[in-house]
Each structure stands twice: as structure tokens, then as C-alpha cells.
Amino acid sequence: MTAIDPTAHLTAEQIEELGRELDAIRDEVIADRGEKDAAYIRRVISAQRKLELVSRGVLLFSIFPPAWLIGTAGLSVAKIMDNMEIGHNILHGQWDWMRDPKIHSTTWEWDHVSPSDQWKHSHNELHHTYTNVIGKDNDLGYGIMRVDEDQKWHPFHLGQPLWNFLNACFFEYGIAAYDLELGKNLHKRRRKNPEFRARARAVGRKIRKQVLKDYVIHPLLSGPSFLTTLAATFTANLVRNLWTHSVIMCGHFPEGVQVFERRSIRGETRGQWYLRQMMGSANISGSKAMHFMTGNLSHQIEHHLFPDLPSNRYAEVAVKVRALFEKYELEYVTGPLPKQVFSAWHKVFRLSLPNKRPKTGTPDREQNLIAA
């Protein structure tokens, strides 16, 4: 959000050298990727399935408060594991190299209302390619919020703290709507587009299955515990939504993260693309357990640089990436979860009001890129 381009001190040659150094980090991991990594993801998947089975088993007796508490906690964790460390990362193709058809980005489906193929398009192709480019990356405020001074203010944004809170509670539906580009497609003319209708039907089917499982079948199986199990699965989905929303907000919204003009990415080189990912993402610092529960998206910077490297490798990659930030005198945005969540929310509140003095883009970087 600073008007000064934090990469202005780098020459074109330095940016390309940075790109080569990052390529080398990636190559090193790929050359070393093997049996241990495969065993890791299989272990995580197996643990997640067992945890989910046991939790749902315990919830059959959710009429007893301790069972409700344990079952709900377990199911919440299982759903978070499914979406984050497992689903998100498999759908990125991080495990495709194993050639296991059961753990592959083209076959995986997750415990989420957005069908995986639609999510892959909006997330992998749009967000990861056009990260933080205003007008191109819909993740930037999800189309309902203003998260940078450079985005135009509209009275609608006055309500954005509320929109953001609602989105957090029902995040998986928010994502499904977002993957459908509902905002754009609900206009009269587009609504009848057969391609959109087919995708909307696919989402409908997925929602029906998810709702039936969580809110009908499992409560019914619980017999006398019907209502308490219903409350438990609702709570687990809510916990999962709030958690994933918080983690994902920390990836690109905290103070210090840069956004880019549409024009600035024209003719972008590999080195410049890397640099944009470095400046457009933020990490979360914390314990191993915290990294695991965020699906290693706490290493958002590393994930954006190398979206298809296995997630269990981001921690070791982070050490090398951070050294490069220091070498090239760039700001590595990171902080503990509460601080980053607060920072992101602070921005949501602050930018719900119009800027005092509208900023004129990020001219420094643009000139820098044109010079490059």
C-alpha cells in the first residue's frame, strides 16, 4: 500500500538472476522428491479418514455432551485436513508425480461444495497466474470487498466488514459462488448461457450431496441424537469455514502485501512473475501443528512461487527463499496468525471508507518494468 515501489532498487538483470536462483531451489526439491514424500501424503490421507470415521462414530452418541464435544472437534479437524493439507494441495497437482490415480489432481474430489474442477480453474489458472493484479485476480477481495487503495470505492464497500464476516461463516458457499463467477453471470443475458448452467447444475448436485450427508443422513443414523449431530456437523462446517477463511485472508490481505496494475504485467518475464508472487503474498509464522492445519498455506510466499511442489517441502524451501529476500533487500511479510488476521481485518475495515487522497497506481514499479 506504500506509494513507493519496494522493488525499485532492482535492475532487470538482478530480477532475472533472482528468477534463476528460484528455479534452482525448485529443481533441487524435484530431484530429491521420492518415497518419503509419497509416504507422507498417504499417511496424512489415512489419518484424516480414520479421524473422520471415528469422529462421526462418536457423534452417533452426540446426545451426551462429552461425545458431542469430542466428535465435533474431531470432525472439524478432519474437514480442515481434507480441505487444506490434502484437497487444496492435491488439486494443485502437488502429488501428480506419484502417478497414483487415487491421489491425482484430475481425479480428486473434496469435502467442499465447490466441485474440484471448477475450483481448480478459478484458483490455479486465474488466481495463481494473475496474483494480486487488480481487475484480473478475483481473489483480491473476492469481488465483494476493497482490499487496496487502488481499487475504486463504491458505497457498497461500507458494508464490507459484514460481507467479510458472512463470507467467513459460509466460506465454502462463497467459494462455490465465486468459482461460478455468480456476480458476473447472474446478469440476465449470461444466466442462460448453457455452459454456465451446466456448471451451476454441477454445483447444485455437489451441494445436495454434501448437505444430505452432513445434515440428513448422519443425523438420521444418530437416532435419538439427531438434533445434536445436526448441530455438530453444522458446527464442524462452521469451524472449518472460519479457519480456512482466516488462513486464506492472511495470504494476500495483510498490510505490506503489494497489488499490481493490469498494465504492469504485460510482457512479464519469468523473473518478474516470481517477483510479483514474492511481493504479493504473506506468510504466517508458528508451530509445526499450525503449519499443518493451514495446509502449509502459512508458507503462502513459497506456495505462490512453487504451487506444485509437495506441501511438506515448503518449510525447508522457506529457509532458502527467505535468504533470497534478504539478499535482494525485499520485505518478507510474515507474522503470527492473530497478528496477520488482525492486520487483514483492519484493512477490510479501513478500506470500507473512501481514501482521503486517491493514490495514482504504482507508477514506480510500472516504470521499472517498462525500463526492464
Binding site: 521420492g34 509419497a38 497437482g93 502417478r99 497414483d100 489432481s105 484430475t106 481425479t107
Partner: protein, 336 residues
């Protein structure tokens, strides 16, 4: 409905991967060395295993360094084996990822993926009076499956290997000889040189009257096919090849894997299967020599060349190609 988006089998697989109804898998129960570079792998197949016919091979998917690789190996256990296990015998070939893994590093307890056994290099229903097995190197493996399975009154075997200690199953072969169940000629190619097919007249004077099963390197099989044809007894010769035949290369092109959304440049000599695997595309695969059809994939657009014959196949609705023996012949689009 209860387990969506997963299937109940995804959970059952955690506890019972070999159960009836599961994807066919097997568990390695033991690995016995046969020679310095060959070993027999004892496999307990899942409940869905339908059993094999002597001489057939099985495709197995093994995780080597975390990557699932599929290869085909001959079944060497007899069909009458009672304990429900089957064996394959593997010779480690230089740079062979799967063969070296199985011979040197595979551990009992490991799960592998299996296909049903297949192949038409098998014994006939009616017992022939006289049999000749003409084998070399690991070509002995399907024949060992036959030898262990069915006894004939008059069986001759001519087997080539570099040195005596390279002969797989040597002890067992010699005990069959001692029991007068087999007449065996070992050709040690390091000292004797390659077997000249014309020497058969001297080694097995009545070879032309024998129903013959031959398995070994392409050189031996080509010579045998010519020899049997020249003597007008080609119908009595059954062969099994472990490698594809002639390689015809052409110009390559851009290959698009439309389901995965990847496009890569391919030369005209590399099989599309290898191209796809390198690009991280989920390619089905099997024998990698053009016989098992485990790799067939729809060709959506463009043209491919059969590396064995040079024949060009162009895309049409419903056209399937064998990616293991097809290379790009110009730009093409593969549905993977």
C-alpha cells in the same frame, strides 16, 4: 451418500486392501534371489484374482521412489499352487527402474497394484506328443511357469545364458533332468557364442516335429521365426516378445493432453506414454511394448505414428491409440 465425496471403498481400503471387490492389488510376501540379478517375488493376490494359465504374464504397478510404474512379468508359479500365492520372476536389466527395485529393494509386506493375468503364450488344451522350449535369459520365465504346470512325455529345452551361474532356476532344471522329466541343453554364450539356429539340427534333430515355445531376445525370436517358416512348420512355433520390434521414427510435434491441460513438445521417436509421464500426466500403462493394450487412450486430434510399423493413425471419433508404441506425427491431442 454416507461417505460423499469419497466412496465406502476408500475407507475399506485402509483396513482391507486385498478384499473381494477392491481394486485388484497384491502383497509381496517374500523375495527369493535366483541369481545375482534375478529374483522370484512371492505375491499374495487380492480376492478378485481370477487365476492364470501357464505361460501368461501379469501387469503390476509398483511404487519406485514414490512413483507408480507399471510393468509386465511372466507368472512362474504353477496353476496348481494351493496356498493362493503366485510368483513372478524378475531379472534386473541395466537402468531398469522396476526390475532393479523388485530384485534388490522390494520388501515383504509391500502392497502392489495388479491386473488380471493375460497373454496368449500358453499351452494348448490337447497335450502335444513332443515339446521344445527354446529360451534365452529371462525368456525362461514364462516357460518355467509351463514346466512347473504341465508334464509332457517328451520335453526338450534349449536355453541360452551368458554363464552357468546366470541360468535362472538352474537347480530345479537339473533336478528335472535327473528325474528324466526333461532333456536340457545349456548354451553358455560367453564361452560358446550366441546360439546359431542352424545348430538345432544337431542339438534337437527332431525339432521340426515338436510343438515349440520360444521366448528371449528379439534376435533369437526373429531367427527362429525365419527358420521355422523356411521349413514350413511356422504353425508349430509360439513366441513371446518382451520388447517391441522395429522402431520407425518420424517427425514429432506438439502434444496436448487436453484433460490435464498440458502441452509439450515431442520428438518423433519417443513414445507418447513417456512424453505424458514426463509431463506429469496420469497415463495408464502396461507392458510398454505394444501388446497388452493397458495404455490405450483416445486420440482427439492430429496424427500419431506406430513406432513398430511406421503406420500413421489419424484422429477420428472413437480412435484409440497405444501410447507405449506411438509417437507424435505432427501436433496431436491426447485425451488425458
Amino acid at each position: 451418500m454416507v461417505t460423499t465425496p469419497l466412496l465406502p471403498s476408500d475407507y475399506l481400503d485402509l483396513v482391507s486392501p486385498l478384499r473381494a471387490g477392491a481394486d485388484l492389488r497384491g502383497r509381496i510376501e517374500a523375495v527369493h534371489p535366483e541369481t545375482d540379478d534375478a529374483a522370484t517375488v512371492v505375491i499374495r493376490p487380492g480376492r478378485g484374482w481370477r487365476g492364470h494359465t501357464a505361460g501368461q504374464y501379469v501387469r503390476i504397478g509398483v511404487d519406485v521412489d514414490g512413483v507408480r510404474l507399471w510393468r509386465a512379468y511372466s507368472v512362474t508359479s504353477p496353476t496348481s499352487r494351493r496356498d493362493g500365492r503366485v510368483t513372478i520372476t524378475v531379472k534386473a536389466i541395466p537402468d531398469g527402474k522396476v526390475s532393479n527395485h523388485l530384485v534388490r529393494r522390494a520388501k515383504p509386506g509391500t502392497l502392489i497394484q495388479l491386473d488380471q493375468p493375460t497373454g496368449d503364450f500358453v499351452l494348448p488344451q490337447a497335450k502335444p506328443a513332443k515339446v521344445l522350449y527354446l529360451t534365452a535369459g529371462s525368456g525362461i520365465t514364462p516357460v518355467m511357469g509351463m514346466l512347473r504346470d504341465t508334464e509332457f512325455d517328451d520335453v526338450v529345452m534349449v536355453h541360452s545364458a551368458p554363464q552357468p551361474q546366470d541360468v535362472i532356476f538352474r537347480k530345479e532344471l537339473h533336478s528335472l533332468v535327473a528325474d528324466k522329466k526333461l532333456r536340457l541343453t545349456e548354451v553358455h554364450t560367453d564361452t560358446d557364442g550366441m546360439l546359431d539356429i542352424a545348430r538345432l539340427d544337431e542339438l534337437v534333430p527332431d525339432w521340426a516335429q515338436r510343438e515349440t515355445w520360444a521366448c528371449g531376445p528379439a534376435g533369437l525370436l526373429d531367427a527362429a521365426e525365419d527358420h521355422w517358416t523356411a521349413h514350413g512348420v511356422r504353425a508349430r512355433l509360439h513366441t513371446e516378445r518382451f520388447r517391441p520390434g522395429i522402431v520407425v521414427a518420424g517427425e514429432g510435434g506438439e502434444v496436448t493432453f487436453s484433460t490435464t491441460g498440458k502441452t509439450v513438445a515431442a520428438d518423433g521417436a519417443t513414445p507418447l506414454l513417456d512424453i505424458g509421464e514426463e509431463a506429469g500426466v496420469l497415463m495408464p500403462s502396461g507392458c510398454r511394448m505394444g501388446i497388452c493394450f493397458g495404455c490405450v487412450t483416445p486420440l482427439k486430434a492430429g496424427a500419431v505414428r506406430d513406432l513398430r510399423t511406421g503406420e500413421i493413425t489419424e484422429a477420428e471419433p472413437g480412435v484409440l491409440i497405444q501410447t507405449c508404441v506411438s509417437a507424435a506425427a505432427g501436433p496431436c491431442d491426447i485425451e488425458r
